[in-house]
Every structure is written in structure tokens, then in C-alpha cells.
Symmetry: C2
Subunit: 458 residues, 2 copies
């Protein structure tokens, strides 16, 4: 461990070294991601159409695929300074335990109350809503990380925050709900009788425990049926990847400071917010032909949108009220099994990452959840941090790559994104500790059912 | 906020600036804390007697009141580097919200999986146990922060870890229990049938939900009745204050780096581990006549050992098996009400802090829990961090001091210890959010009952 003398366990940037712009990777992509389509007309969504649902400034960011850098407003930079920069950690102890010549780094986004990277985009979206003079925002949340992050951002800015929380999570994760309430958010179990779509679903399926798709539909309706509100979303959208580029930009600045060049960059992939943010600036270098890196997206075997999905236009939500996006998808009707990494249970994938993957610029693998929890537990005991199940997908892949290096003797530098902590996931850890966790891999027949529901778009 | 240009939101020490020695404040005290007494003979405990319960190196630290500095072993420094230095945060947003001329800083110890400062001593105690060739350690835990910290330290070092968890906490805080299990600890609800004392209590009080005093007795019995085990404790003992001095030393180094001199230093006080650690190096300067500071201990009004207790020899545990300590105490038979700051529900106080308080070197105040949660919620919304109920006692006092500065126009510099996060305390926050939290202040008659049980020691 000769590095220990020169490279600290944790690299923290100085405030003066923190990025002041977000990076828009689409600007450097030859094949741009396909535009969002209006679900009725199947024509590209106009700024005007999008502005009925989203804040104006965010619509501009969503549609702009040529501007490489966006200035981060001063107020957002101030908020970032309360919990950023996040540390880039050298996993000395894990390297020693694995007895690998590989050098492992992870960018840890869990040191804030939301427990994940979601806060990076939540504050940006809340800021633009406030700036537009809105009263508040609405959103949905599944596991609760995004809802918590948005609640924090809204509390800070004095914005009203309405969260539709999937009913089964609302009931099974009362502590997450309570964190949001502590930050002043109004949390409604979905489906609810507060919206038309909610009432319809309740009438049709009495006793349903809800779904993310239904919660999205309720949140969109709630935003568009009241003056002074807009809908915000924590992943999938390209604006979210733009805000999350802060992760990659900080990572790159920290590596550059110590003259470290990574060989492999790994992230877990659900909707793509973390992975997209982490790899963006590195991908930019690759796209511009300046450097080459391997990028590995890690998804759950139970919801394998990149590795087994189709690259096609699809609905972003199960309710089919949102625009269509061209992406790797399992079909909006695909119902993932009850994998404990709730944040990765999404049928589709960011259109940016989908395009990059389709262009062969990024790899993807799928891993099973018991192996993920095995890696998570090992990591927790060695590196101290108790990782979120989602983040642990990246840990699993990083460990496997480091063990490959052990076989080949290669001193590769591996960087992975540790998106958050697992403090609110102890039910899942308990199942693993009790040996009661199982794996589920959808059959080809299961997938065929999801694909059958794909819309027909030329 | 002219300071913003020169003083960052978060001051992180470089690895090379991290303390490499602990500071033993007793070395600079004129009136040394009184020695521990053998509960049978009422004579000072010898090293030999203590070594039957505690590790040898820790016994040396416990008894040494003259050596000012102890080198921190390399292995412990390595572990510290995984989660330390902790940030010293400038509460710019809170200052703005309060519209105060005061400058507020807090030392945040919550950015590790145990969620508190407890890890600082857990790794030290586990290290010395390992170094002595022991197989494992036993301890008790109430709310679970100490048990979690010890589990983490033992997992890292490959030591066996047996935690006796107060049964009501074991049942009401299953997630805390699960974190410990994830780190490989064996967690037993107390009272249990695994010890003689546990079986006796179960026979006498069938269906009891346990107490910290009982759990201590079980943990001590478990340690002393098996070869290769010792008992460890997370607070009260002077060795713990020694290890926790890392908090104060880092705080002082960070302040010195920016030429900041605090006027007031505030910490919550249960057994004294955090407060003692935070103030130690500053108190040293005061004791040596080099500088003057105000120190304020903040305790819950429901368990007011400093503000309403007696300075007397008392049992450290309700089971009366542990040595006697001279301290401010409400009597080992005093049963605090169900205040949600479980970590502060201790009848006594570190003998070091008790002596300093008795000598007029430190002040103490008691605050009620609804006002504490009000401060906690305000702090969470403004500064982002969701604080532990224990830590929030210090927040409450710091806000009050800052508001006093607003009245007087004084630009005082206030430093407080933010010991941890409240992620596992959402039941308490829920009660507060629902307006269902009440305050309880013991009457003089309640206190008299506790005092009646004090042992008679000349």
C-alpha cells in the first residue's frame, strides 16, 4: 500500500475546487438521444407542451442537446456546500481484504439526510420552481429516497411539497414517510382519493397496494390541476442527468488532483440518474476521442432493461400519461419482482444512457440480489459504510473486477459510485441475515408479456 | 456573511493534520476525579481487580490521571481515516435564519454507519481487546448506537461481539438490531436466560421489558464467566473520555487553522462521552490558565443529573455489580421517564465532568424535550441534517445562545457538538410531528426517592 503516503483515504475537494457548472453529455454525442413524444400525437413534445407539466427552465435543459455546460446558480451552489463535495474514497481496506493489485475508489453520495445522490437534482428542480414563482411541486416516490430529497430541498426554499408514496412503501416504510413529514412535506399514500386517476384505480382495484406508475399519474394530475404547481421527477429525464453530472465532475476533479486515471467506471442503473451523472464527464472525453474508459452499468437480474430489454419508444409510466421516450425497456406493463433494490425496479432507462449503450460506448451486466447482499455485507464490515441495496450492485461488480485483476495481476484503477446508505433498508438486510432472501430472474415468457405492450411508433 | 469568502461551510482537516494522540484532561486537573471504589470493600479498585472485567491497556488508561497524552496506535489511526476527520461545519444558513450576529459552528460526528461519535471509543476498546489476544467482548446497549459502533469495530478486527440489548429496544428498534447483526454481532434481548442474573430477574419479574442496569449486569457476567472475553462500555468511564478527545482535538485544530477562538462550547450530556471529548483540549487550556471559555452541558429536564443531582459516590448500574463512582447522580434507583433521547437517560455522569462542574469550571442547563424537537426540526429544515434527539439538546442551547447574541448585539463564536443522526429515531419524530409528545419533569419527591438509595460512603 505504498499509495497510502501520497493518496489519502478520502479525497475532499476544497470549496474553491468544486464544479460551478453542470456538464451536458448530449452536447458531445454524435447520435443524440431521440426526442420525447406526445403520447397522443406521437410527435416530439414541444417546450410549450412540456411546460404545462415541468418548470420552464427545466424544460429548456431537457430539450437542449447542444450546450455543453450550464452554470449552476449561486443559490444551488450554496446548498451544495452544505453537504458537498462528497468524498472520493480509496478503498484501502477492501483492496487488502481482496488481496488484489487493483486500486479501488468509490464516490460516496450517502453523507446527507436523504441518504443518496438524489438531493443533487432535487435542490435544482426545487430552485427553478421557486424561481418561476410557483407555490410548490408534486412528485411520486417508491422507496422514498427521492421523496426525502425533494422534501429537504423544498423545506430549505420554503416551497410546498406533495409526495405521492406508493401505498405499500407508505405502510412498510413508516420511517421514510416520517422523515419527509419532518421536512414539512405532505405525504399521501397512492392510490388515493385526492385525484381522479387515484379514485378510478381504487374503484377498479379495491385494496390495491399501489405502484410507481399509479403514483406518477396521481402526482402529474395533482400538479397540472392546481395553479402554481409543477411536477418533478428524480430520474430518467435528461435534466436529471445534467444535475447529477456534479457527481462525475467532482470525481474527475478529485482524480485529476492526484493524477489518477481510472480504467473502469462502474455504477448501478435503475433509471440512470446516478450512473449517468457519474460517467458523464468521462464519457465526454471518450466521445471527443481524448481518452478511453470502460463503463459498466449494473442492473438487477430481476429487472434487466439494458441486458435483456428492447431499444424502443415506450411509456415512461404504467399509467401511460407521460411522454414516450426511446430507451431500453422491458415494457411499461412489465412488473418487476419484489427485489429489495426498489430504486432499480424501473422498466426503462434514461434515453441518454440507452443511446450510449446502443452505440457500444458502455457495457452492462445484470446481477442477482443474494450476491449483491453478500457483497454489501462484506463491504459494510470492511469499509464501515452500510450501503443501500441499489448501490451494492456497483459494489458487487467492482469486487468482481478487482478479483479478475487478482487473477491477471493487472493494477487497474476501478472507480464506482456508492450512491447511498441502507439505513432504511434493514428489512431487506434482515431477510438476507436470516437466509430468507431469494433470487428471481424473469423468463423469456415473462419478458414477452412486457414487450407485447410496447406502443407502435415508426 | 463576509466570512463566506474565507471560511468554508465545512472545515475538513487534511489527513496529515489529524491528531495522532489522545488528550487526557485529568493530567491538568488540580482536583482529580475521585477513584472508582470496589462495591464490596468500598476501597479504590486496583488495576488487578479492574483487569478481571476490562482489558489491561484500558485499565491503565482508566487509572492514569497524570499522563497528558497517549499515542493513538497506528491501526486505530487507519480505522479513523475511514470515517474521520469529521467536518466542523459553519452553520451559515442557521445564522441567517436566526438573524444573529453570532457565528455558529458544529462538529458533526454522524457521518458514519453507527450514526454517532461512539465509534471513536468502540474501535479503541476493540483494538486493545484484540491486542490482548482476546476472543471477543461483551457489552450492553439501550437505544443501540453504542452496540452498533462496537459491532462495526469488532467486524473490522475479526472479534466476537456479544451485545445485550434492553428488551424493549430490541423489540421496538428492530432495525438497529439488524444493523448489528449485519456486522456479525450476536444480539440478545435482556433480560435473557443466557446468564444467571438474567434468569433471576426473569423469575422475579416475568414479562419485564428490561433496563440498562440489567443489561449491564448480564454483559459483565457474560464477560467474566468465559475465557477470552472482557466487558466494554461506551460512556461514563474516563478511558472513554480519553478516546473521545479526538473530537475536541480535531475541532481545535480546525478552528486554529482559521484563527477562530470560540467563546462558548456546548454539548449534550448523558454519561458525558461526547461532551467530555469535545471540551477536553479547550478545558485543558482553561485549567492551565492559557485561555478562558464558557462550557455548557445540556441535559434533559427529565433526567437532570448535573442540575438537580447530588455529587456523591453511587453505583454506575442499577444491578449494583459495577464499581462505585463519585459523580453527580440522581441515584442508581432513579428511573427516568420515557424521554426519547435514550442516550441521555442515565442517572449519573462521568466523574471527570462531575468534578469539573463541581469546581465551577463548567455550566449546566436542563431543557424539555418538546423544545428540543422543535429546535431539531428547525435545524433539519435549515441545515439539512436530521439530528439525533440527544444531539438536539445541544442544538436547542446553541440556538438560545445565538438568540441572546441577537438581543445584545454580541458577535460571539459558538461551537456545539452534533453527536449524531436521528435516522433510527423516527418514532420519536413521528410523535412530535403528530403533536403527541409530552414533557416530564421529576418532582422533588421523585428525586428524593432516588437519593434515598445512595450508598453510604465516607
Amino acid at each position: 500500500m505504498a499509495d497510502k503516503k501520497t493518496i489519502p483515504y478520502k479525497i475532499y475537494l476544497e470549496e474553491s475546487e468544486m464544479p460551478t457548472q453542470w456538464y451536458n453529455v448530449r452536447a458531445d454525442m454524435k447520435n443524440k438521444p431521440a426526442p420525447l413524444l406526445n403520447p397522443q400525437t406521437l410527435k416530439p413534445m414541444t417546450a410549450e407542451e412540456l411546460s404545462q407539466v415541468f418548470c420552464e427552465e427545466l424544460v429548456k435543459q431537457e430539450l437542449d442537446d447542444t450546450t455543453p455546460y450550464f452554470d449552476i446558480p449561486e443559490e444551488i451552489l450554496d446548498f451544495y456546500k452544505m453537504y458537498r463535495p462528497s468524498p472520493l474514497v480509496r478503498a484501502y481496506c477492501l483492496e487488502k481484504e481482496l488481496d488484489t493489485p487493483a486500486k479501488i475508489y468509490y464516490k460516496f453520495e450517502g453523507n446527507n439526510t436523504s441518504g443518496s445522490h438524489k438531493l443533487n437534482s432535487a435542490i435544482a428542480q426545487a430552485y427553478y420552481a421557486k424561481n418561476q414563482g410557483l407555490k410548490g411541486v408534486t412528485t411520486e416516490t417508491g422507496a422514498g429516497q427521492w421523496g426525502t430529497a425533494l422534501s429537504m430541498a423544498c423545506a430549505y426554499l420554503g416551497l410546498d411539497c406533495n409526495v405521492y408514496m406508493v401505498k405499500c412503501s407508505y405502510e412498510q416504510k413508516p420511517f421514510r414517510r416520517e422523515v419527509m413529514r419532518t421536512y414539512g412535506a405532505k405525504v399521501t399514500p397512492s392510490p388515493s382519493d385526492t385525484t381522479k386517476v387515484g379514485r378510478e384505480i381504487l374503484a377498479k382495484y379495491p385494496g390495491t397496494s399501489g405502484s410507481l406508475g399509479c403514483a406518477i399519474s396521481e402526482a402529474v394530475e395533482a400538479a397540472t390541476s392546481k395553479d402554481g404547481y409543477r411536477y418533478v421527477l428524480g430520474s430518467v429525464l435528461t435534466q436529471v442527468l445534467l444535475h447529477q453530472s456534479i457527481i462525475g465532475l467532482e470525481t474527475k476533479a478529485a482524480l485529476d488532483k492526484y493524477h489518477i486515471t481510472p480504467d473502469i467506471i462502474i455504477g448501478c442503473a435503475g433509471g440512470g440518474s446516478n450512473l449517468g451523472g457519474l460517467i458523464s464527464p468521462f464519457m465526454g472525453e471518450k466521445l471527443r476521442g481524448e481518452k478511453d474508459y470502460r463503463f459498466i452499468a449494473v442492473e438487477p437480474a430481476s429487472c434487466p432493461s439494458l441486458t435483456r430489454g428492447k431499444f424502443a419508444y415506450d411509456y415512461c409510466d404504467t399509467g401511460m400519461v407521460c411522454p414516450l421516450a426511446k430507451m431500453y425497456t422491458l415494457g411499461s406493463g412489465f412488473i418487476p419482482s419484489a427485489n429489495h433494490a426498489g430504486g432499480l425496479r424501473y422498466h426503462g432507462m434514461s434515453s441518454v444512457l440507452s443511446q450510449l449503450y446502443d452505440d457500444g460506448l458502455m457495457e452492462a451486466i445484470a446481477v442477482e440480489q443474494t450476491s449483491v447482499f453478500e457483497a454489501a455485507t462484506k463491504f459494510a464490515r470492511i469499509e464501515g459504510i452500510l450501503p443501500a441495496p441499489e448501490s451494492s450492485h456497483a459494489i458487487k461488480a467492482a469486487i468482481d473486477q478487482a478479483l479478475l485483476c487478482k487473477e491477471t495481476g493487472e493494477e487497474k484503477t476501478i472507480v464506482f459510485g456508492l450512491t447511498g446508505t441502507g439505513y432504511f433498508d434493514m428489512v431487506a438486510y434482515g431477510k438476507y441475515n436470516d437466509g430468507a432472501m431469494s433470487d428471481y430472474i424473469p423468463t423469456d415468457e415473462d419478458l414477452a408479456k412486457g414487450f407485447a405492450g410496447l406502443p407502435h411508433v415508426e
